[in-house]
Symmetry: C2
Subunit: 498 residues, 2 copies
């Protein structure tokens, strides 16, 4: 076996254990009985330690070095390019992984598994003090991570890099500030336009079984393959990959409002389509792996918002939905469309509209930078959160469950993750704009609920490439320029006809 | 770390990976999407190889040898006895495991994972030819296993030993022959007594949701802890352990007859109570592991039959069930009891009554011995099965789905497993008889649906001991004598008042 084949084999072995751990995590969120939590944490800790050891053993470094010195010749030019890209990404991963001790990796996995349980209970009881020691412990551990990885400007950058290769807080901050500057004056206008219809008129008694039928139909129309995936129920929706043909989505249900789970499913199915579009034969290697969270999120946002909240989408689906839910008989298409596109300050990020959503991200981006730097003590988080929230949204925070306890991310050790949501928003608008320009007739196909060529375009431009190019290269190749806020602002303005 | 602590640590590490593989297998049966099968097979193969390597490495042999030579002193006498028993069982497992190559273990895991899918399809289409090559391959592999393990009389014994330590085909055969001899003349009488009520009168439209409510209530009354376990739906019901506080049962539903899933759940919950009664602090060691399938099955049978099919049980539960399912209003308690205790030749083992059930086992016991010895070619199995079935049951086999394709066991490589079901039946009757004799007032408690002291007795006599004693020792300690058929025959005679 040559050096390339050795790394390849190891890479696939790690993916095999990693995907088994994904099944354990998915099960923990969906079906695992309560008392099994402690042992599951032990298992996940051991798996994290095992994959870390497999990824960081010195022979892996030697093999990668040997590949860099001379990659074994390969007749096919495309195959050679893919191998070179794999080697480049293996190097990146190896350098990042070898800087952390197994002890730290296992400690994080175990702590976050237990912290997740503590968080769920704390949120239920809106009791920040029950989660505080866990968050404090997690921050200590992620700071250790950041020190291990190294950084030039701030520890936060080292964390961010793990979710969005190449992104830096100091570069994101002005983009987010610009976005906030353009959004802030626009929001009252959008709120005024969309408050003309009372959202209570959408409220009804939507059985979970009927919601599930509709969600499955829409996900199928989008192109999600249910023979290689499924949808389950969890508190916090997610999409996870457990193998080359195994992608699991989750959602949660609001029996008063079917659109909450529907848009949730469109969002997760957008992630799922990216996952299902990765080349299965490359599973377990960088070329078969998603590129970054900002790219992943561009796929979920595009399907949820650019597709799912468009008038064209509902022109097709609304008559069907009205048949399924007779209580909608008195609500016209246009009224319904305004309700699902209403812009209004809200406490819960995952329930926010696509415009104010970005303010939620800006808030979290600020808080987590200050928590990591130590400028903000964990004990002071609720107060800091509530103060800044009120500045941004002009409404007070009633309790921590609807404040700093609402998201699962920090409990899972995912710090530096939030900004990728807004990066995704910007990328989504930019990609959708490019698809409409590049694919003749796409607009009318979408009006007929035919999503095949949109999906084909995304598969061609984004999905099939895995980690071959950088996020910036990929967006530039697909749209002609790197990520900008313009397309998102244009999209909002056009949508509400301002 | 001394030798004992080294084996202990290894034993727990193996249990950790083994229980992760249990999650993967459970998921494969319950929720995994269809296309994920091939990769899941690869994963399970790799896990089987990993745990086999961990269990069979030479240092483990050295540690066990060192423990045998001198077990580290321990102040507590009970603790010393437990340790000595652990060492004895580690030796047994090690000797059994080191005789097989990793290649064979991985090949079996991979083959059976794929064979399971082939079997499911073959059964659906009643197409034995689609399963034939898989069964042939599996037989080749289990014969290799038997040769590896070694045996004195026949290869089948080496397989049987894996499920029921100490059992031998030549010793079981006369017991089973006797049982058949006593059962055969009794069956027409039981059939005559129980055919007085037409079972069609039980048929109704029992929604799955309502069945699930009842099943959960009964399992809870039995003492099954739903915070450390759950019930899901699969084609073939089973009970599996995924950790010290994580026991999963499955069942299947017949919307025309709620008793099918209810007795299925009582059966699996019987297994589950054994699992939940093993000492959690010993998880991953022989003292925290079930003893044998014949003992496991005694627990499921006892709850399903001795408890669940008794008149006393239904005197309590039937009024409740009648309220839940109003179509039962016209069916009296006694009529209902006769229907759920009807004796009648049927094709499907898992639908058989507790009396004829044993003939199903005798048939499989005969067939698998002949398949393993090679006396019966796989291609000739359907014919041999059908001929012998008709001799035993006096009814013809309509198709292979209701014949030799009905069980999942062989597809999973579980050959030598079936006889433990009838061993379980005999043990169940013998244990229940002993409990009634030893626990004053138990009979009247059971009439009041109070199962606490029965469960306590089983926990005390069976569950808590893990693999400390042999099956024969355990049954003798609990009941005063080793396993006999008498108590089961007495039970049948008393039940039907013959």
């Amino acid at each position: 076996m040559n050096a390339y084949e050795s790394v390849l084999q190891r890479s696939k072995e790690i993916a095999l254990y990693g995907s088994a751990a994904s099944v354990l995590s998915w099960d923990q969120e969906t079906y695992m009985p309560a008392k099994a939590g402690a042992y599951r944490a032990e298992q996940l800790g051991q798996f994290a330690g095992l994959t870390h050891r497999l990824a960081t053993s010195t022979e892996v470094g030697d093999w990668i070095k040997a590949c860099e010195d001379s990659l074994p010749p390969c007749a096919d030019e495309e195959e050679s390019a893919l191998r070179a890209a794999n080697v480049r990404e293996w190097r990146r991963d190896y350098d990042r992984a070898t800087k952390l001790s197994s002890r730290l990796v296992e400690d994080l996995a175990k702590t976050t598994s237990l912290a997740r349980e503590a968080w769920a209970k704390a949120r239920l009881e809106s009791d920040f003090s029950a989660f505080e020691p866990w968050l404090d412990k997690i921050l200590g551990l992620v700071r250790e991570q950041a020190e291990g990885w190294g950084y030039s400007t701030c520890a936060y950058d080292a964390l961010l890099e793990g979710y969005e290769p190449g992104a830096r807080a100091a570069e994101l901050a002005p983009v987010f500030a610009d976005l906030q500057k353009e959004l802030t004056p626009l929001l009252p206008q959008l709120q005024k336009i969309t408050e003309t219809v009372d959202p209570v008129r959408l409220e009804g008694n939507y059985s979970i079984a009927e919601q599930q039928k509709l969600n499955a139909l829409v996900a199928q129309a989008m192109g999600f393959d249910f023979e290689a995936g499924r949808i389950d129920t969890t508190t916090h929706p997610f999409c996870t990959e457990m193998g080359p043909k195994d992608c699991r989505l989750t959602t949660r249900y609001n029996e008063k409002d079917f659109t909450s789970s529907l848009f949730g499913v469109m969002h997760e199915a957008g992630h799922g389509l990216y996952t299902q579009g990765l080349p299965p034969e490359q599973f377990g290697t960088p070329m078969g792996t998603y590129l970054s969270l900002g790219i992943h999120e561009s796929q979920s946002r595009l399907w949820e918002n650019q597709v799912g909240r468009s008038l064209a989408f509902w022109q097709h689906w609304y008559p069907r939905v009205q048949k399924q839910f007779p209580n909608l008989a008195g609500l016209s298409l246009e009224e319904f469309w305004i309700i699902v596109n209403r812009v209004k300050a809200t406490h819960i990020r995952v329930e926010a509209d696509e415009a104010t959503y970005n303010l939620h991200i800006i808030l979290r981006f600020e808080m987590e930078q200050r928590l990591v730097s130590g400028e903000l003590a964990v004990a002071d988080l609720p107060k800091a959160w509530n103060t800044r929230f009120e500045e941004l949204f002009q409404i007070p925070v009633p309790d921590d469950a609807r404040g700093c306890l609402q998201d699962t991310h920090w409990a899972l050790g995912l710090i530096g993750y939030f900004p990728t949501y807004t990066l995704g928003t910007l990328n989504a608008a930019q990609l959708f704009n490019a698809a409409l320009k590049q694919v003749p007739g796409l607009e009318s196909e979408l009006q007929q609920a035919n999503y095949t060529r949109l999906l084909d375009w995304l598969r061609e431009k984004i999905h099939r490439h895995g980690r071959r190019y950088s996020p910036t290269e990929l967006i530039t190749q697909a749209t002609g320029e790197s990520t900008r806020a313009t397309y998102f602002m244009d999209y909002l303005n056009a949508k509400y006809r301002i």
